[in-house]
Amino acid sequence: MFSETSYYFRRAAQVMGIGERIQRLLEKPQRLVKVEIVVELDSGELGTFTGFRVQHNRARGPCKGGLRYHPTVDEDHSSALAALMTWKTAVVELPFGGAKGGIDCDPTRLSPGEVERITRKFVSEIHETIGPYSDIPAPDVNTNAQTMAWIMTEYSRIHGFAPAVVTGKPVELHGSPGREEATGLGCTYIIAEVIKRTGGTIADKTFAIQGFGNVGSHLARHLALRGGKVVALSDVNSAIINRQGIDIPAVLQHVAEHRTLAGFPHAEPFDRDELIYLDVDVLVPAALGNVFTRENAHLVKAKTIIEAANAPTTPEADEIFDKRGVLVVPDILANAGGVIVSYFEWVQNIQQFRWELEEIQGKLHRYMERSFKTVWDLARSKNISMRTAAFIVAIGRVGKATVLSGV
C-alpha cells in the first residue's frame, strides 16, 4: 500500500520537475508520536499496546486522518497512509494536512469494555498531539462512531467541551447528517462529471460495483435514483447479476434482512471473481485494495473505472490501463466525499451551528465538481493520466503552502 503511494507521488513529482531533496522533504512525515498503552484486561491481566499518530504535513492546516485498530498498525504503515491523506485533502482543497494513526491491537479478540479502556487510555497519552486546531482523527479500519464518541468525551474531560477534536461522531453526539453516505454520494457526483464529458447520461449507462458495504450500497442507491442501470454487485462471499438492471431498493431491503446479497430472487448468482471482467460502461471497485494487477488489468473490459476503494490498482495495472486508454478516476479524488463531509462536520462543530442535509449534499456536490474539473483539465492539457494529474494538483497546493509559509 505505502510503496504505491510513494510510487505515484514520485511519478508526479518527476513530471513536475521537482528535485530529489524537495521530494524527500515533501514525503517525510513532520511528526511521529508513539505511546505505550497499558490497561487492565477483563482477565485481570495487564495488556500492553502500542499506539501511533503520524502527522505528515501541516502546511495547509490542522492534520486530518483516520485511526485504525489492527495488528498491522506500525510506524511505516501509518506514515504512508498519513502522506496519502495529505494528498487527498489537498486535491479536494480542504484546509487540512494529512495524518494517520492507530493501535496495534486485534479488536475481534477484545471485549467492548477493553476497547473502550484502550481508547480512553490512548487519548490520555496523545491529548496534547490531537486537538480541533492541530490534528483531528476520524474512523478507519475497526473503529467507528462509538470509538469517536469515546475520544471526544475523553478529550473534552481534559480540555473542556471540544466536539471538533474528532469527526465521524454519532449524529446524536455532534456528528453531521450525511456523513455515512458521503463517500458513495461523492462517487456518484464524480461519475456524473465523467459522463458529462464523455457523452450520455447516467440513465443510459451500465454499472458493476464490487463491494456492497457502506460505500457500495449508497453508491448503488444514488445511481439508481438517477436512472442508472446497476447490472452486477458483489460482497464478501457472493455476487449477483441482472442484465436488465438490479432493483436496488429491493436488494437493499434483502441485504438489511439477510446481511448478504446471496439469495436475492430477482437476479442470477455468479462467480464474484468475474465481476471485474464484465462488459459494463463503468466499473467501481468499492471494497478492497490490490484488485487490479499486472495479471488481470488487460482483461478488464470497462472503459471507465472509479476507485471508490483505497488503492485498488497496483502501479503495473495502472500503466496497463493508461496504455489501453481506460479512464481511471483515482482514489484520492473519487473517494474523497468522506473526508469532505468530515470537514463539514468539523466546521459545524467549530461554529456550533448544524446544517441541513440538503446544504451538506449541495456543498459536497460543489467540492467534488470543482476538484474533478481541476484534475480533468490538467490531465487533458498536459496529456497525463487522471492519477498523475490529481497528485500534481495535490503536490502543487502543498508545495505552495510550504514555500509561502517558509521552509
Partner: protein, 182 residues
Amino acid sequence: MEFDRKELRKTERFHQIPIFSNLTGQETGRILRITQELTVPAHREIFKPGDPCDGFYIILDGRVDIRIPSPGHTTTIATLSNRSVFGEMSFLGKRPRSAWATALEETRLNKIDGEAFQAMLDKGDIAAYKVIHNFAKLIAGRLRRVEDELLRVLDSVSPERRATKLAELQEFRQTLFRDWSF
C-alpha cells in the same frame, strides 16, 4: 489445562512482538523452545563491548539503554522499551558485542539462544528464516533513517551543499508558481 492456557497466552504475547508477528502457532512454538525468560535488576549490565555473542534479546517489560564507545566517553544510541529487540547486530554479523546494554529499571527479557537459532537456520527451518526476513526489514528501516540523517548533516556542514539546497528550493518555488497554477 491451566498449563495449556498459560502456554497459549505466552504464544499470543509473542505474536505482538514485531519480529515474530507473521509466524504461525507451530513456528512460534519452535522459537519459544529455544527462548529463555530472564529478569534483570535495574542498572545491571546485560552485555558490554567485546563480550562474545550468544544470542539476541527481546524486551517483555522494562527499558534498556544501548550505548556505544565514542572518543573519551560513551554515547547512548537508543533507549528501548517493550517488544524491542537488541543484540541482533552482533548475532547477524557474527562478531563480538559492540555496545553496552544496560537495564534502566527492573526488566524482563526473552533471550533467544544464538547456537540453537543457528541450528534452526542450518536445518532450513522456515520459522528462523521468517525472523531473519523481519530483521532485514527492521534494518532496512534503520538504514533509511541513517541516510536521511546523513543527508541532513551533510547539508548543514557543507556551504556548497547548502547553496545547492537553497537553489533547489528557489527553483521549486518558481516552477510551482510559473508552471502549475490551478
